[in-house]
């Protein structure tokens, strides 16, 4: 299969679907949904195919030759301008290594499920699925792009569809939530853009006897490709490099989201329709974490080490603050949103530890949290579909009425708490182990441990309030799950249990890349 552009196929399948959907008349609702589902399932199959052919002995990260399924074409080349004193090269450069393949897999799982969850959308499904397909294309592109300019384009493509998806199909305060999301992420995007320009301007590679400025991420990780007195050259020790680090940090921190840049998230989650919340929490938040690992850390290894203490501190603030907020919520969905913030804190301090186990835990946590939180949001969506309220106080005794539903909920809740045998346990444990291995982050590992207790607190308390006790009157007609809903929840529960019992599947994929990543950053 050498030469077949399989990654491009994954990215542009949804664009192809967009073109078909555009031509279809509005009334063919089922065909529109089917086309999206087929496109997403094909993507999943292609991703599984990539995994089956993937050589897990190669590490990637900063080694160009160890990336797999590479596609590299010159895209925008400005050259032969001697008097302009400026040549630059933007490449269409895609490739996967152990870290991106795991993220791709996550997207491949979540997207088909989100289509299934949106099956009942009856407000202009054509526009909805157009936007969903565009969003998908942006997500997939971001996970495989290895050229910063290309990365930025895919990163920003996601904004407009997401704005409309929240703003058009959202809840009561959808306008406010949509614009807040848009403004926050665009702000981050601009920081990202400025840093990318600075990076490219300080670089210089020789190709065909001409020196080019490059956007190639892998070249930029090598200080030999920088001009000696370039803005971001490590030799040129000035404050610009620190500023660039801070700018990139904020850009990704907004997406992750790290306290105090998190305030868009609860609003966006609460107002977004269920499938979009699933994508938002399941995938988009991981883009922030992915940005840290793929871009920020390898480009600025010295600051990543130097500020490990503060980064870990922010992570543990996230854990505790998110958990405390979750405890205080009366709205079921907002509770899950804050629990997301809390769980993304683990990603942060696991990564800050720069320990092999810690970083491994951090990436695994992104994957596992993606699956678990998708389940949680689906669960909220199901109950909201039926009784159109999310007030926890209005629920009670649902276990009597809906035993199958309660079964799935129990799996998801216990997974979120981190019960051994379910997937999040291993990744959270790894994050703690990693944090304890590094003297900088040890303190915050210890503090964050209380997050587990808090998680158990709010999750179990919610379980008790909603599912146990006496059945409330308004729940008399509560129907148990339909087949479609069971079909959505079964694969997720299966994965939660599978990766809980046999986490080596994930570890195998990640191990080499992460080891290499940690060695590279530490030196």
């Amino acid at each position: 299969m050498a030469g077949f552009p399989i990654l491009s196929t994954i990215i542009f399948l949804p664009i192809f679907a967009v073109l078909i959907i555009l031509l279809l008349p509005k009334r063919l609702k089922t065909s529109i949904k089917t086309i999206s589902l087929v496109a997403f399932l094909l993507q999943t199959i292609l991703i599984l195919f990539i995994i089956s052919k993937f050589d897990f002995n190669l590490s990637g990260v900063i080694k160009l030759e160890e990336f797999q399924f590479v596609e590299k074409v010159d895209w925008i080349t400005v050259s032969n301008s001697a008097q302009l004193n400026l040549n630059f090269k933007i490449e269409y450069f895609l490739g996967v290594d152990g870290i991106s393949i795991v993220m791709l897999l996550l997207s491949g799982i979540i997207f088909p499920i989100s289509v299934a969850a949106s099956w009942n959308i009856d407000k202009s499904p054509k526009g909805y699925f157009l936007m969903l397909n565009l969003l998908n294309s942006g997500v997939m592109g971001t996970f495989v792009a290895l050229d910063l300019f290309l990365f930025f384009i895919f990163w920003e493509i996601m904004l407009l569809p997401m704005y409309f998806l929240i703003g058009l199909w959202g809840g009561e305060r959808k306008e406010y939530a949509a614009i807040k999301f848009f403004l926050y992420t665009l702000f981050g995007g601009i920081l990202l853009l400025l840093t990318i320009i600075l990076l490219a301007l300080s670089s210089s590679i020789i190709a065909d006897g001409i020196s080019y400025k490059t956007f190639n991420l892998i070249y930029l990780m090598d200080q030999n490709n920088y001009i000696k007195n370039g803005y971001l050259s490590i030799l040129n020790s000035n404050h610009i490099r620190l500023l660039a680090f801070a700018a990139l940090f904020v850009a990704f921190a907004i997406k992750l989201p790290i306290f105090p840049f998190h305030t868009w998230l609860p609003d966006a989650h609460v107002e977004a329709p269920t499938p979009i919340s699933v994508i938002l929490a399941g995938i988009l938040l991981k883009l922030g974490g992915y940005g840290f690992i793929r871009i920020l850390y390898p480009l600025f290894p010295e600051y990543s080490k130097e500020f490990a203490f503060y980064i870990a501190m922010l992570g543990s603030i996230n854990v505790i603050y998110g958990a405390l907020c979750a405890l205080a919520q009366t709205d079921f969905k907002k509770l899950i949103a804050y629990s997301s913030i809390s769980h993304m804190g683990y990603v942060m301090f696991g990564l800050a530890s720069l320990d092999q186990v810690g970083v491994l835990g951090s990436v695994m946590q992104m994957f596992n949290h993606g699956i678990i939180t998708s389940m949680l949001f689906l669960i909220v969506g199901i109950v909201y579909d039926r009784i159109h309220t999310r007030e926890i106080a209005k629920f009670g005794g649902l276990a009597l009425k809906a035993p199958i539903y309660t079964g799935f909920v129990t799996i998801a809740f216990f997974a979120a708490i981190g019960l051994p045998g379910l997937s999040a346990f291993i990744s959270e444990a790894f994050c703690y182990l990693g944090a304890f291995n590094n003297s900088d982050t040890r303190l915050f590992g210890a503090i964050s441990l209380s997050g587990v207790a808090l998680a158990a607190g709010y999750m179990l308390w919610t379980l008790q309030r909603i599912f146990f006790g006496k059945l409330k009157d308004n729940l008399e007609d509560f129907q148990d799950l339909t087949n479609r809903e069971i079909a959505m929840l079964i694969p997720l529960s299966f994965l939660v249990i599978l990766f809980g019992i046999y986490p080596s599947l994930l570890i195998q994929m990640l191990n080499n890349s992460i080891n290499f990543f940690v060695i590279f950053i530490s030196n």
Binding site: L160, L168, F182, L183, L193, I197
Partner: protein
């Protein structure tokens, strides 16, 4: 010295068609007159665009019809800049006429007149960028202004339109007086209107001549007024609000392009700005551009935040966009000028397109207020979607040409160590997003306020043009390398 050469081919074509339309309008009396005229005009300008191509090889200095080598006697200079701007003028004229084609904004029996005036403005504009003689510059500027006053007051019985025309006229008259004053002072010093003579005079200066600087300031102001650079922008919102949309579409795109071209021509010829030698320039244009661009972006953006009328919103946003043109110049490098030109190309086409879509929308909704177009996409998703794309480009979201242009400007600023300026201008994009998103919100997200019955369905030609403009908007980024390399080779 041949009497006839191809250099005025497009202009001659327009002159001939003006005469033809004049007679056609007089003697043809069927119902479909207006439609025939509009379709014909589109074809004429398409041919004019093609007719620019043979003029490329005829570049050089001209005294009216004759090509001469003595640049001190020349009146016109045809070079890359004037040709590029000419393309833009004709393209935005086409967009304006296509917008007009399927609309009832201008009454049927008035179409001929409207088109003749529009043609004449377009004709004058296509000569403005190439002139290197202050007096000719003044005459052409005045022709454009006088014709523009008529067109902005074209909706005779609309109070706003008359107000727009009158305000435009008052501002225009005042600053026209200023510029003729400046020109006369310069003539007093130099004894010539020719740019090159002025340049030589300035070079030969041994000490600062503040009266001369003052007169140059007065001439600069007349460009700034046309470009609506803040703080010379006060006429813009009122004139845009009152004028017919098809004319505003033309005025914001072609008008901006040509004024910017004329300003650039003045600065490049008289002050050799492309040599970026600050000491040889006497006047520090770079700092002037920095201040003016920041003030334009700031005033344009903040004023646009609270507008309720879409035309006013776009008017203020156009002030902000002009700030970005100047930012490219402020970078003070060749790439800066290239990025300014690319920004100009993007802005001219996309802004014209946005007004085109807006005309359809406002005619169907019978209003230009954000509130009354609430939920418009439910009735006409096609136009709304295309407008959304243009707006995405105007905000500067990838993968549009607007993003590419903004990216290049930031690049050239940072390249010249002006990263604080780059950061400030980049963050204004967030505010731009905020006010542009209000249009998106009104179109797509707001609940339908009043049920609309579409009076003017968009027809096939509308659809094709909207789609072509959208393709340009998105596909533009793929032309980026070509544009940079091409401009680099001709500048």
């Amino acid at each position: 010295m041949s009497i006839f050469n191809f250099i005025y081919l497009p202009e001659m074509l327009i002159v001939v068609s003006i005469i033809f339309i004049l007679f056609f309008d007089l003697f043809y009396e069927r119902d479909n007159k207006s439609l025939i005229l509009k379709n014909l005009s589109i074809i004429i300008f398409l041919i004019s665009i093609i007719a620019i191509i043979p003029t490329i090889s005829e570049q050089g200095f001209y005294i009216f019809l004759h090509k001469i080598n003595d640049l001190h006697k020349a009146v016109f200079k045809f070079d890359w800049l004037s040709i590029t701007i000419k393309y833009l003028i004709y393209a935005s004229t086409i967009i304006a006429i296509i917008a007009l084609r399927n609309s009832n904004e201008i009454k049927k029996e008035k179409t001929g007149e409207f088109l003749i005036i529009l043609f004449s403005i377009s004709l004058s504009m296509s000569l403005l960028t190439s002139t290197i003689d202050l007096l000719v510059l003044y005459v052409i500027l005045e022709t454009i202004s006088l014709l523009s006053y008529t067109l902005s007051g074209y909706l005779k019985f609309a109070a706003k339109s008359s107000e727009a025309s009158f305000k435009y006229f008052l501002y225009g008259a005042f600053f026209s007086a200023c510029s003729i004053y400046g020109i006369s002072i310069i003539y007093g010093f130099v004894g010539s209107f020719n740019y090159f003579d002025i340049k030589n005079f300035i070079i030969s200066l041994t000490s600062s001549n503040y009266i001369l600087y003052f007169s140059i300031f007065l001439i600069f102001v007349s460009f700034a007024i046309k470009l609506s650079i803040a703080p010379f922008h006060f006429w813009t919102p009122d004139v845009y609000e009152g004028s017919p949309i098809s004319f505003v579409s033309f005025l914001t795109s072609a008008g901006k392009a040509v004024s910017f071209g004329a300003l650039l021509n003045f600065i490049l010829t008289v002050f050799e700005y492309d040599k970026f030698d600050q000491t040889a320039q006497y006047i520090n244009w770079k700092n002037i551009f920095i201040v003016l661009s920041i003030s334009s972006i700031t005033i344009g953006t903040f004023a646009a935040l609270w507008q309720k009328n879409i035309k006013r919103l776009l008017a203020y946003s156009s002030i902000a966009h002009v700030g970005y043109f100047l930012l490219g110049l402020a970078a003070g490098s060749k790439l800066g000028i290239i990025s300014s030109i690319i920004y100009l190309i993007f802005y001219t086409i996309t802004n014209g397109a946005a007004f085109f879509a807006l005309l359809r929308i406002s005619e169907n909704a019978d209003s230009e207020d954000l509130e009354s177009i609430a939920g418009y996409s439910n009735f006409d998703s096609f136009t709304s979607t295309n407008l959304a794309l243009y707006i995405a480009s105007l905000i500067g979201l990838p993968p549009t040409l607007g993003f590419a242009a903004k990216f290049l400007i930031l690049w050239s600023l940072i390249e010249n160590d002006m990263y604080i300026l780059a950061a400030i201008s980049a963050f204004y994009s967030v505010l731009a997003l905020f006010f542009y998103s209000r249009i998106l919100k009104a179109l797509f997200i707001k609940k339908v306020r009043n049920e609309l019955i579409l009076k003017r369905n968009i027809d096939l030609i509308d659809k094709i043009s909207l789609i072509l403009l959208s393709v340009f908007t998105i596909g533009g980024i793929f032309m980026l390398a070509y544009l940079i390399n091409y401009l680099n080779s001709i500048i």
